[in-house]
Point group: D3
Chain length 147, copies 6
């Protein structure tokens, strides 16, 4: 990787991504090879999309747009579920579940929050925020297991 311009801001993604993939950071796995690359960011990005779609739903009065927003929210909610299921089955091992006994329930609640009883069945932004909070809790544990 060639030399880069100095990072101007610690907040920009580029810098963050560099850190994510810096040598000392052990990373990841999500393809059942397994390739070893996992990252809760995937679920989070989709959940942010769910929340944004809800906000756009409320801001619009065009029924076709609202219908599209609901459909997008449905699809993106499903992606959230998929990414979380993969983490739960493929990344976390028995010793993790022992160390974090709340982990099963956390994942079950998070995926439910992305389903019919959650962001699929609701346009309430607060529900998307609950989902995001659960994903953050999962990410905390995920990164703790990486240390």
């Amino acid at each position: 990787m060639p030399a880069k311009k100095p990072a101007k801001k610690p907040e920009n993604m580029k810098v963050l991504m560099k850190r994510i993939f810096a040598p000392r950071t052990t990373v990841f796995a999500h393809c059942d090879l397994p390739c070893g690359v996992y990252d809760p960011a995937q679920a989070k990005i989709e959940a942010l999309s769910v929340k944004a779609a809800m906000e756009k739903y409320h801001a619009s009065s065009d029924p076709d747009f609202k219908s599209r927003a609901v459909a997008v929210k449905e699809e993106r909610s499903h992606h959230v579920k998929e990414h979380l299921w993969v983490l739960w089955t493929d990344y976390f091992k028995p010793n993790h579940f022992e160390a974090y006994p709340q982990l099963h329930t956390l994942f079950n609640e998070a995926t439910k929050l992305a389903g019919a009883a959650g962001t699929k069945g609701s346009n309430d932004v607060a529900v998307a925020e609950k989902l995001l909070a659960k994903i953050d809790e999962i990410a905390d544990i995920f990164w703790a297991t990486k240390k």
Copy 2:
């Protein structure tokens, strides 16, 4: 989200993610609603998976595993292409292409590097690294347009 301490530590993903979504960070879009959520990290995560699959391919002598590694690499390479195409078409606007005249070529080369002439047709880790470098170049521009 409050101001951040300067980065000095083996900062875990959680912290990084917090910054990603800190208020001052404008975020993104990828679902054609459009929801406004875009992030080159999606392409990068898949490209890392491609590279990891190649490494596992070389490390194994089991023909079935090697065959699975090639198939996973194929699928993940395709995901890279998809994520990049979405950025190119849906996120970048005419003014961006004016400001960064190399952008079209960059995306075309990056997606080719994830295709038959790139990581799909090769098991050479150096090809995956070229792909990763291209994605980094794209991410640099992406985040520059976010400032």
Copy 3:
């Protein structure tokens, strides 16, 4: 798999299916509407396909056929995971997890058995049989909750 009552009759599937859908049988849910139609048979059918693909793999000496068998096994194993995840998240409710405290672990183990550490990464028919046994355990609980 627990001991079974001896099969009394050469009862064919048709008869069984008729009973399944007889008016008094309450049935099921799997689409996040939710439509209320769930059925562990979906996971079981795919797992049987996994096992059959392994058997055909071993019975063949044609490398292209063997490669196809591995690919089919990969895809069908993924379907098993999907069907099980849906049951775990969408059908089972907190009261079920209280009544059957082993349920989380059972699903986690079953989906792992359909993944890289299980039928995806192995051609061992015994692994497919373990997967089938886990699905049977889940089905037992599923149907018990339906009573």
Copy 4:
């Protein structure tokens, strides 16, 4: 297919499933390996989901929910078509079509009933019931060929 005994018992699915997979039960094919595992139950489960989605559509007055119900019905109807097409092409052989000359028409009508002229284009529960009846007719023949 012989005459049926009247259903005497509230037999639950679990018991039925055990019988389905009892050693003497010949089982079946659906993946183009071919693995040899076929089962009309897959189409039936999806068709039940279509019918349930219609019922929920009529029971609701929430336009977003109704829109979701229509979308779910669309997707599940498509799954019905897929499962039936696979049976028609991959399971049934020329000798079956000779023995059951109505089979082509039956499948063509059943798949049409799951399409735009059927459950996709209609919310009429009676249409879903016609589709279910056609699937039952197909299942009768399927199981007869298994004897």
Copy 5:
């Protein structure tokens, strides 16, 4: 591309395609809306891809490339089946089946030729050519019904 045999018949694809876009030709349907846009060219393009993948398979001695060729052939063969099934169920109506009594068998044979007993299970270019010939027969009838 090497020299070709002279086109023997007006039924060849080239001529058919001319008809597709001829002014007087009302066009088409394939999405279950139904939108009314159908076109046997979709199946043909995929079948040409199947044949080309076989040729590349035979021309290569790289086992990874050969494995990729088999996988591509598998996927494209499936697309052929899908496009043909859609035509059979969604475009053709009872009056067509009366007028062309061979149509059911033709579609059943063509889809079988794209399945495990055909281009999926074989690398024989002659099998792909048989498939292409069947698609041409179907296209002939399709365009005849459009007149």
Copy 6:
């Protein structure tokens, strides 16, 4: 279908399709093997479907049908994007981009016209017609490179 302007030019699709299957035309590639089979007709067929769905949307007063038409238009618009992206990345080579400097912009505009700012976000038939015109421009160049 309303009266049309007379076809002005030999560049129209009909003429192009004639060229596709003309004996001297070397054919094609779209699967990343690469198999060498590419064809802008795939994008065009999907775009025609988009336009037809819009017309059916306007002709109907059934809200469920209109909702289905919007969903179909969404899906088919996505297929247009996919087919165009594949051509842009996989078929066109650096020498083509040199010879046709407008090609990047053309593809970027065409895929945008099939996205949220185009046929996904609009029911305006004129937008679909603009998309079709762009695809025709691309097809002109495509076939010129085949000569």
